[in-house]
Symmetry: C2
Subunit: 268 residues, 2 copies
């Protein structure tokens, strides 16, 4: 099911700047029993991403109206919410006062194998690098060719995720997830001031973990030497990396604890 500016349709206008230039932002998150998980944080992030690109973010009430239409049919699923800078004449220049386009789509909840949830996942290094662009770093915008090319690198269904480095070799994120890792009792996550998407689950963990999660530069060996490594996003939640090419990790001591922190807030 798709709503474009509140209207049920499968289509958008071909001259939308989202298509022409990737000129927009998006978010992906879960709806369960008609309730949007972490909506407040998701909307805040959408709003700040729009602001960073000088796109006027639709008011919250429009999304709430869309959700109420969505939930009439299906109370559970993955919502993707896209805001583009709207229609355009040819060329990069923006028509003043052009209304934005708001697209909401609902797809089925993914089913994760219980082994993945309980035991963890296998990941690989991606060869495709992320460019360093501080102007766009952190924003979940529609210019995602680097992630697409990285995801094209493997077909093995046993590999759950790829880990991306930037053009200088620093570890940044998973293709569609963020990374957090533990060294002893200290938690870290790659610094995203040069590239990568600063996801909502990562922000939540940074607030929920009592000792904090420090943003640091991460060379590949540091990740491999960590005591426990996890990936997170708003669809998968939090998963432990158990195997990364030649490196394996035992079942981590912290994954259940961190997951409990997230779930307690989800249900609050």
């Amino acid at each position: 099911m798709v709503l474009v500016n509140g209207v049920s349709t499968e289509q958008i206008i071909a001259r939308d700047r989202g298509l022409m230039y990737g000129d927009g932002v998006f978010r992906t998150f879960l709806m369960k029993k008609g309730r949007i998980q972490n909506w407040k944080r998701q909307y805040e992030k959408l709003h700040s991403d729009c602001a960073a690109l000088h796109i006027s973010c639709p008011e919250e009430v429009f999304f709430l109206r869309d959700f109420s239409i969505m939930t009439q049919d299906t109370p559970n699923g993955v919502l993707r919410l896209t805001v583009t800078r709207g229609e355009s004449a040819r060329g990069y220049a923006v028509n003043p006062g052009q209304p934005v386009t708001r697209i909401i789509s609902l797809t089925a909840l993914p089913v994760f194998d219980s082994a993945i949830l309980n035991e963890g996942v296998r990941v690989r290094w991606c060869e495709t690098r992320l460019a360093r662009q501080p102007r766009l770093a952190g924003i979940k915008h529609l210019n995602r060719l680097e992630n697409v090319l990285a995801r094209l690198e493997w077909h093995d269904p046993l590999i759950f995720e790829g880990v991306m480095r930037d053009t200088e070799g620093d570890v940044i994120e998973g293709v569609s997830s963020n990374l957090v890792f533990r060294e002893g009792e200290n938690w870290y996550t790659p610094d995203l001031s040069m590239c990568g998407v600063a996801g909502v689950q990562r922000s939540r963990l940074m607030e929920l973990v009592q000792t904090g999660i420090k943003e640091v530069q991460v060379r590949p060996q540091r990740l491999l030497d960590a005591d426990e490594v996890m990936i997170c996003n708003s669809v998968m939640g939090l998963l432990q990396i158990r195997e990364m090419e030649d490196r394996t990790w035992g079942k981590g001591k912290s994954i259940s604890e961190l997951r409990a922190l997230l779930e307690a807030e989800d249900e609050a």
Copy 2:
């Protein structure tokens, strides 16, 4: 007028990867009296850009059929041709065998002021920088947020174009054009191996200018010190830069000559 996969429509499917991730490439060029300018080169560039992203480029015959439909109504205009990786399920992974989407739109020929054509243009420096990403450099893909943000920097209609530098400060291109410049009798153009779009007009000039045009690293001062600077693309052709913030140039001796080279080939 818009054709999507050969069918006249204004719409594309909202789950097209072109919209979801900017996952595609495009070209913009002129049709005059029903004839596509430099079609052979345009198609070659489209094909190689698709190949670079592992997108299967539609065969030429499909575009020729689209053009024959287009020209029935209007023999003159600007054609924009977009190829995306087609529809997608949610997520970056690509469905094997998924057909691509082919979009062709026709808009009115722009009318350039005769002063612009005969005398040249005023340009500015953009603050928005291009990230260094050799994997995508040269390709005219749909991830164009840097260009969009650069074009948002000015509203003065007397400024025709903005000149973009990369994150290291090297001069790369105009927001929607390439740069060529002359020092004495020698011609140069910024090296595009780290970022920027390698346009068809630039490639044509590199072949048509008898002494060649050398690709070089260009620091800002070098551009300002040049004897003659021009911007080019397939819609504007070739225009001389006469004013760049405080720097002004007299009418150049070479613009007519280079333009004649391009036009002779256009009409051949």
